[in-house]
């Protein structure tokens, strides 16, 4: 089916489909990361779930995500430096 449509001259279905799949995969990766971060940062930031999310807790969650990404970045860079020194 796919083969047939893409074989029509000037019809870019293959490319469109590839793009669509790529975007969907990106969305899935984003979703999976958010899932992981929420679990990790929930454990760090939420002591006892109250009637609403406190400003303090919200700030903690945001900072948790940002500092985790900073740490990852730092580690990758440092590993790279260590590798270069060898």
């Amino acid at each position: 089916m796919e083969q047939q449509i893409s074989s029509i001259p000037g019809y870019d279905t293959d490319k469109e489909l590839q793009q669509f799949v790529e975007i969907e995969q990106q969305k899935a990766r984003f979703h999976a990361q958010v899932h992981k971060f929420t679990e990790m940062c929930w454990d760090k930031c939420i002591d006892k779930p109250g009637n609403r999310l406190e400003a303090k807790e919200e700030a903690c969650l945001t900072q948790c995500v940002e500092r985790f990404l900073d740490s990852t970045h730092f580690i990758v860079n440092r590993l790279d430096e260590i590798r270069k020194q060898q």
């Binding site: 984003f30 971060f37 679990e39 945001t62 995500v65 990404l69």
Partner: protein, 54 residues
């Protein structure tokens, strides 16, 4: 979410899920979903700043 809220709300599992435990689980679910949104926003913002910087 189920794991997280169970840990927070059902400290000593009894013979049935108590009303207070159920209320806690409901509250915990709401807060967890809010947290999900906060985390999602923070991560999306970060990706955006990062991709506009480079």
């Amino acid at each position: 979410m189920s794991e997280r809220c169970f840990v927070k709300c059902v400290v000593k599992p009894g013979t049935s899920l108590e009303l207070s435990e159920r209320q806690c689980v409901a509250k915990c679910m709401d807060r967890y979903m809010e947290s999900w949104n906060v985390v999602s926003r923070a991560y999306a913002n970060r990706i955006q700043t990062y991709s506009s910087d480079s």
